[in-house]
Symmetry: C2
Subunit: 93 residues, 2 copies
């Protein structure tokens, strides 16, 4: 069953689900800067809005507009900057 | 601020937000058949999975796979059949 998740005082919220045994979420990131850790590797697709991302261990911030995606290694993490409210789809790989 | 919504005993859940004064949601539809009414007109984009849709007042069911979208008139409604858990992005127009 779909499950609601809330992080950072509700500034990041998602709904998790599964298909074919694979976990996924869709969610919203309100404007701000956040850090997420990963257990499994994941692919984040920007549905609308845009994100600026720095993968842990890298120095470069990269820009991901709506329709683009990035992947994050397992047991890693990433910094997110959102200038506008942004919706995303996250697949655990 | 992003806001969680739950319908049909949690089988449909979404997170609502706004950008540039326009309301939007991203959400999940678990397998099943549901009817939604519309106040404002809306555009529904299938992020992953697939939906079969019948707009109120029409007889035909239409198939919308991931990456496609349909629009629903204001003060209307639509029936949804989801065979698999499906994520969507809804823009109020």
């Amino acid at each position: 069953m779909a499950q609601h998740n809330s992080y950072f005082d509700g500034k990041v919220q998602s709904v998790g689900f599964a298909r074919n045994g694979r976990k996924q979420t869709v969610g919203v990131i309100e404007p701000g800067e956040f850090h997420f850790g990963t257990d499994a590797a994941e692919r984040m697709t920007v549905v609308c809005g845009e994100l600026v991302i720095r993968i842990d261990g890298q120095s470069e911030w990269k820009h991901y507009p709506a329709g683009t995606a990035f992947e994050v290694p397992a047991k890693g993490g990433f910094d997110i900057k959102a200038a506008v409210a942004t919706a995303y789809w996250c697949e655990f790989l």
